[in-house]
């Protein structure tokens, strides 16, 4: 199978947050590809590092964070680029949509002025006529009527503000859009409307999308591929449909089972809590909570395997057998976890 080169490649990316003495390894050796016009879901629980990964790709890490590894885009490693160059690329090449639209739109500026400012910043040659046309066209495709072009952010509902935010990112025609929990603060029907817009980005704008979310349902419905994160690492990746139909990693499986959906008839939960990332568990980071834990799991860091083409998993259940020491597949008694420890 030959596939076109990816739009963006992450190779062995690590992001540390400095705390006195001990770094928090929020992203710990992540590799990931995003293809042209692809919708990739990055899913995990809070604290797994998914937002940090999303921002790390765009070079938007908070102060005190350090990144190393490679984020390859257009033949360059974004990690090494000077901030000024990166800033010029953010917008026309790589866009970002945040969770809270109200905190990202300038409350004192009309929508029209926010678009003008954005376009002037990155495309100096545009005339004001062209600026208006491009802005109205993008807003219209997000369902914002031209009659409201000169209004202020507070005059719009939550869903409309998020539509404006998306339009503001798309007006620069980025190749990749990172959306960090873009619908979390919205009501369920509006969430559905926004997700439909995001799923159509590739068709309407040719934009690739990385959707960062904790909601497995959103990923199942709107993403082509999914990467599951746990404790700073990607533990499983593959086509969304396949992964949800037949998860390879026990964490993916348990996360799916503990999700309360309309089909839920029994409550399931994963014992224990996600580990702290200052001193994560030895071997496989999920081993203290894993129902399938084996002797090898706490002893050796798992090796990534490809159970089928296009899928990968970080779990000793899938081998490689040559790397498992004798007796390593013996089931291990899971350490008893008190209720109080977990939640």
């Amino acid at each position: 199978m030959s596939s076109p080169p990816p739009l963006l490649s992450v190779r062995n990316l690590r992001v540390y947050y400095g705390t006195p003495g001990h770094p928090v390894r929020a992203v710990d050796g992540v590799s990931l590809d995003i293809g042209e016009s692809e919708v990739l879901g990055l899913v995990g629980e809070s604290g797994c590092g998914k937002s940090t990964l999303g921002r790390g790709i765009l070079g938007l890490l908070p102060e005190g964070a350090r990144a190393n590894g490679e984020v390859l885009y257009g033949g360059r490693n974004l990690i090494d680029l000077p901030p000024k160059t990166l800033r010029r690329m953010r917008g026309p090449e790589l866009g970002l949509i945040f969770q809270e639209p109200m905190t990202r739109l300038n409350p004192l500026m009309r929508i029209s002025d926010q678009f003008r400012e954005t376009l002037e910043q990155h495309e100096r040659k545009l005339t004001s006529r062209e600026i208006r046309r491009r802005s109205l066209d993008t807003l219209g495709r997000m369902g914002i009527p031209p009659t409201r072009f000169n209004q202020y952010p507070h005059e719009f509902s939550g869903g409309m503000r998020q539509r404006i935010m998306i339009a503001l990112a798309l007006v620069l025609r980025p190749k990749l859009l990172v959306a960090d929990e873009p619908t979390t603060s919205l009501d369920v029907i509006v969430e559905g409307q926004i997700l439909a817009l995001l799923s159509d980005l590739k068709r309407n704008f040719g934009t690739a999308l990385m959707l960062v979310t904790h909601n497995l349902g959103i990923v199942a419905e709107s993403c082509d591929r999914v990467a599951v994160m746990y404790a700073g690492q990607i533990v499983e990746e593959g086509p969304a449909r396949d992964v949800f139909a037949e998860p390879s990693h026990p964490y993916t499986r348990e996360l799916l089972r503990s999700t309360i959906s309309l089909d839920t008839t029994e409550l399931h939960s994963i014992p224990g809590a996600p580990p702290n990332l200052i001193d994560p568990p030895s071997g496989c980071r999920f081993h203290p909570r894993c129902p399938d834990v084996m002797a090898v799991c706490p002893a050796k860091v798992p090796i990534e395997t490809r159970p089928e083409p296009g899928r990968r998993v970080l779990c000793w259940l899938h081998g490689p057998e040559s790397a498992i020491p004798p007796g390593g597949t013996q089931p291990l008694e899971r350490e008893a976890i008190a209720v109080a420890e977990e939640a």
Binding site: E45, R133, D137, G140, R141, G143, P145, P146, T147, G158, G159, M160, D187, V188, I189, E191, G192, Q193, L195, A196, S199, H214, N215, G217, I218, V219, A220, E221, S222, A240, R241, D242, F244, A245, E254, L255, L256, S258, T259, I260, S261, L262, D263, T264, T265, E266, L267, H268, S269, I270, P271, A273, P291, D292, P331, R334, A338, A340, E342, A343
Partner: protein, 460 residues
């Protein structure tokens, strides 16, 4: 241990202990309005500002031992309804009877005594606990407030037993910690311990698991179900999340813009949703099912401003099944045009907008409007083009008359009927689709030969 995940509980085992006697809480015609202050002059001359009808004529009953889910989107009034029951917000009208006693209009002193019987758990466990109080102080605080703490040792023993009941065991390990030392799930457990320490009969839980991670939600819901059975509790579960409500609740009330639009046993609401709004909510929930993709046929728009609700049925502007009598009015025309213009090329939009002139006359809710235009023929054309572009839009069913007049466009809509909560099978639903009278009325309006006598469309 070969058993992979813990099967916490299955719902059927837990659905027990609902009594059929007199309701624990009986709400009748409850209205809670928030007034919006007018401007300075209005206040000076004593003119009333507008009001947000957060809860607008709600009636329901809560039987002892049941879990009633109050489900709605933000702005539906579900939280205000919960707060009104707790006496945290004064009711504007109507009655709330709890254990045979009227709650509305009670003085704060009497209310406080009642709060031993009614407790509350809020959404955000981080905000619910005072960061300067230890867990023992926080959980024991209600005992002190109500003067039932007893000696120091007794207080501590009661706190320890409450903590162990909610799974924070051994309690000694948690009592002297501060909220910041606990995880989100642990904090919510502490909040629940504080809520049950006075042995209440009714617990109002306002989005108790919404801020928690997926893997923790199940554990907190499980805890709440266990406590309900052990302590004989009744729950009012307020949430936007139909999935947890389905598992958790015996009965469901769906709220939209201050009103209950559908109420009935959970199974029936989920298996056979009747109100188009309930149907839309269920369709919109993202399900982790690999066979599904994002639904494309969701209702348009968002929950409207509660201070200026739509005429007729509040859901009609978004409803795919709305018809003649659902409440079509001037503001719906503006929305229709704006929806159209969002997708038009700039030149066409500008031409159409110029032909219609200012749409501001449409902003006052009314069923008859005169829109002054320069060229009535041209303006008429614009509306006809819009109609031809999407003749199936329910809006056009509501239009009774559309004609050019002297220097204006005259538009009239069918007289709206206000929907009523009527029985439909084992549920009650507030929708004209289930109201014989409304259906009959619409049928008459559709009949081509019916003479249109002015003023004949009054609500019946």
């Amino acid at each position: 241990m070969t058993d992979d995940t813990r099967v916490l509980s299955s719902r059927s085992e837990l659905r027990t202990g609902i009594s059929s006697e007199e309701p624990l809480v009986s709400v009748r015609g409850l209205k809670t309005y928030y007034s919006i202050r007018g401007n300075f002059l209005d206040r000076l001359i004593g003119r009333e500002g507008a009001a947000v009808r957060a809860v607008d004529d709600v009636s329901l009953e809560l039987r002892k031992g049941e879990v009633l889910g109050l489900v709605g989107e933000s702005g539906s009034g579900k939280t205000t309804l919960g707060r009104t029951l707790l006496g945290l917000v004064p009711a504007t009208a109507g009655s709330v009877v709890f254990e045979g006693r009227e709650l509305t209009g009670l003085r704060e002193r009497d209310l406080r005594r009642l709060r031993r019987r009614i407790q509350v758990v809020f959404q955000d466990p981080h905000a619910s606990l005072n960061p300067a109080m230890t867990i023992a102080q926080a959980v024991g605080h209600p005992l002190e407030i109500h003067g039932v703490a007893g000696s120091r040792e007794q207080l501590r023993a009661q706190v320890a037993s409450a903590l162990e009941r909610v799974g924070l065991a051994p309690a000694e390990q948690f009592m002297d910690k501060y909220p910041s030392d606990l995880s989100g799930g642990q904090k919510q457990r502490a909040v629940i311990a504080r809520a049950i320490i006075l042995s209440p009969v009714l617990l109002v839980a306002d989005e108790p698991v919404s801020m928690l991670d997926m893997s923790v939600r199940a554990k907190i819901l499980e805890l709440m179900l266990a406590l309900k059975n052990e302590l004989d509790l009744t729950y009012l579960y307020i949430t936007h999340d139909l999935a947890t409500a389905k598992f958790f609740c015996d009965r469901i009330a769906i709220m939209y813009l201050g009103r209950i639009v559908e109420i009935g046993p959970s199974e029936e609401i989920y298996e056979n949703p009747r109100h188009p709004y309930t149907q839309a909510l269920l369709k919109a929930i993202p399900e982790p099912d690999p066979r599904r993709s994002v639904p494309r046929d969701l209702p348009r728009g968002e929950v409207p401003d509660a201070s200026r609700p739509p005429l007729g049925c509040s859901f009609h502007p978004r409803c795919p099944r709305a018809f003649e009598v659902c409440g079509w009015e001037s503001r719906d025309l503006r929305e229709l045009l704006e929806r159209r213009w969002a997708h038009l090329e700039e030149e066409r939009y500008e031409a159409e907008q110029a032909a219609l002139g200012s749409l501001d006359p449409l902003d006052t809710p009314q069923t008859r409007v005169r829109l002054p235009v320069g060229d009535p023929g041209r303006a008429m054309q614009v509306l006809e083009t819009a109609r031809d572009a999407d003749p199936a839009d329910p809006f056009w069913r509501g239009v009774k008359r559309l004609e050019p007049a002297n220097g204006a466009l005259e538009i009239e809509w069918h007289e709206p009927l206000s929907p009523r909560l009527l029985p439909a099978g084992v549920v009650e639903v507030e929708c004209h689709l289930y109201d014989e009278e409304a259906l009959r009325r619409a049928e008459q309006l559709r009949a081509p030969r019916e003479p249109v006598a002015s003023g004949s469309g009054g609500a019946t």
